[in-house]
């Protein structure tokens, strides 16, 4: 065996160097995520460690109803600027879930149906116009959408449904749907287009109509991708700040009526972070909200990834 020539060795070295750089770049991304989480979590830590902070709030007071007013039943209250600051997370969670639920109820059917139409029924010319147009919606800054919701949408929806409160979960949710639809549309359209042609041809050859082919063959075959789209849209809507800050009214109420004004977790951070005393209880609680949001999307993404994996395996016929 001859030893590798110098030019060969140089090439190998170069390969190794390039590989190292690419690995480093990839690791930087992961490191950034970890470092952000560590920083946010560290700022929230006083809730568990500092006696001063724990005097004002702890997990029990954040999540269980408290008897704040004498003679009234215990309730949830978010009143961080008060003689006795009250940091109940429950109204914020309820608010976030209400807005997200409305956004998903609107955007999942619209986004998936639009994707199905575009990939299965639209003539090629229309498709070439439709796709970039819907994707353009994702390019509208959320502050502009929020402003639109605040001025126009809120009045239209109040006239249509007779809401007592002009700004409410429905207004914020519908405005939010405008940002979620393009996400769901783009990702599921890609998934639907990726379904092999042979599936469609086989279905049509067996006598199925185009609708039957689209709904019973192509859509199920693309299900993992569509699900991934929905999860992505969910993550987008739960973390969206500007639209809800402007269009939801920001009242921290614990009710299940969609016509009530709501305060969400991200909007609370955005509205209150500017004013808090550095290192105080309120400051730590806001960072704790950040940790919650982070964990929330992390768990959701992991669950969805696991589910998609199972779905793919089942469809491949190996499970």
């Amino acid at each position: 065996m001859a030893r590798p020539s110098p030019s060969m060795r140089r090439r190998q070295l170069r390969e190794a160097a390039i590989q190292a750089v690419i690995t480093l770049v990839a690791l930087t991304g992961i490191a950034a995520v970890v470092l952000i989480f560590v920083f946010v979590a560290r700022e929230a830590l006083p809730i568990f460690t500092s006696p001063e902070v724990r005097e004002e709030t702890d997990l029990a007071r954040m999540f269980l109803p408290q008897a704040w007013r004498a003679g009234r039943p215990a309730f949830f209250s978010w009143q961080p600027v008060s003689e006795i600051p009250k940091y109940s997370m429950v109204p914020l969670f309820v608010g976030t879930l209400k807005v997200t639920a409305v956004a998903m109820l609107v955007s999942v059917p619209v986004g998936v149906a639009a994707a199905l139409f575009t990939s299965e029924f639209a003539p090629r010319r229309l498709r070439e116009v439709l796709k970039p147009t819907i994707e353009l919606l994702a390019g509208i800054p959320s502050v502009v959408l929020g402003f639109f919701a605040l001025i126009v949408l809120a009045s239209v929806l109040q006239d249509a449904f007779g809401f007592t409160s002009r700004l409410n979960a429905v207004v914020a949710g519908v405005a939010l749907a405008l940002t979620v639809v393009p996400v769901i549309f783009t990702v599921s359209e890609d998934a639907l287009t990726a379904v092999p042609r042979s599936y469609r041809e086989a279905s049509l050859a067996l006598g199925a109509t185009r609708w039957e082919t689209a709904f019973k063959v192509v859509l199920p075959a693309a299900a993992p991708g569509v699900l991934a789209a929905v999860v992505l849209g969910f993550g987008r809507s739960i973390g969206e700040t500007m639209i809800v800050l402007m269009a939801s009214g920001n009242a921290a109420m614990t009710t299940f009526s969609l016509g009530d004004s709501v305060r969400t977790l991200p909007a609370t951070i955005a509205a209150e972070m500017g004013e808090v005393v550095f290192g105080g209880t309120h400051y730590a609680v806001l960072f704790f909200i950040g940790v919650e949001l982070f964990l929330f999307t992390f768990v959701l993404n992991s669950l969805a990834a696991a589910f998609v994996k199972r779905l793919v395996r089942r469809m491949a016929g190996t499970a």
Binding site: Q79, V81, S82, R166, L245, G249, A251, T254, E275
Partner: protein, 270 residues
């Protein structure tokens, strides 16, 4: 390349040479402070004053953190906040009242209610009275508008109307007085509060004073103290104002500065 760099430096240098006085805080005072800054800079070429809003709490936090020279505040600094300044800089903040403001109560132009007492306002904002008919209006639910809790107006209203009690959880918190005015203008059953200077397109309700009479937040009523919801507007500095900051505050208190106060819709202190 080099030439553009030199040109850039030349353009920036004068700006750096006269360090700007930074003024930060109360959203209520931001229009006023900006007008002051404009006129001040017009009269004193080369001087620079930079005004930003964000809320009294934001301004005071910036004063504590050392990122602003003057903090605008529509409420007095709390002892805890003063303590923080002393802790860090070994000096107490100085308070200068620069103008007076009346906190107006806004309702929709179509609302028949003419005047409210402080007790009625307290009950409305605590969520104990939820229908307009209980305070002399038509049979309709009251929709509450409030400010974000970083706002000095929020704190002022909480202390002077609610006497420290919490706002009802149904009170919607909006960013800025303009947003409150806009919301009440659009909401038939809405009620909101904010600086008297902002009330465009809404009705200002009379507030019943100590003598049992209803008063609007007009110049005479605020100056005479008959309007019950008036407050001083402050500028805070770390220690006695000095140098550029002192020059600016002196200008605000001068007759020319106090004239601007009236023009913007607030009330002079001198």
């Amino acid at each position: 390349m080099k030439r553009t760099l030199i040109a850039l430096v030349a353009a920036i240098a004068p700006a750096l040479a006269s360090a700007a006085v930074t003024v930060k805080g109360s959203d209520t005072m931001v229009i006023l402070a900006q007008r002051w800054a404009e006129e001040y800079m017009k009269q004193n070429t080369g001087k620079r004053v930079q005004v930003t809003g964000g809320g009294s709490g934001v301004g005071i936090a910036a004063l504590i953190n050392g990122t602003t020279d003057i903090a605008n505040a529509s409420r007095a600094m709390k002892d805890a906040e003063k303590g923080k300044v002393r802790e860090r800089y070994n000096i107490l903040p100085t308070e200068t009242a620069v103008a007076k403001d009346g906190v107006a109560i806004y309702v929709n132009a179509a609302n028949p209610v003419q005047q409210l007492t402080i007790e009625q306002l307290a009950k409305i904002y605590a969520g104990d009275v939820t229908n307009w008919k209980d305070v002399g209006g038509s049979d309709a639910p009251i929709v509450l508008y409030s400010r974000e809790n970083s706002s000095g107006t929020y704190v002022f209203f909480k202390e002077n109307v609610l006497k420290g009690a919490d706002y009802a959880s149904s009170a919607q918190t909006l960013p800025g007085t303009a947003a409150v005015v806009n919301a009440v203008a659009k909401e038939k059953n809405g009620i909101g509060y904010g600086g008297a200077a902002y009330a465009k397109g809404v009705k200002e309700v009379k507030v019943v004073g100590a003598d049992g009479q209803g008063y609007t937040p007009s110049a005479e009523n605020v100056a005479s103290g008959k309007y019950p919801l008036s407050r001083p507007l402050f500028m805070y500095t770390r220690g006695k104002p000095s140098g550029e900051a002192k020059a600016f505050i002196d200008y605000c208190l001068s007759p020319a500065g106090q004239k601007i106060v009236t023009q913007v819709g607030y009330f002079p202190v001198k």
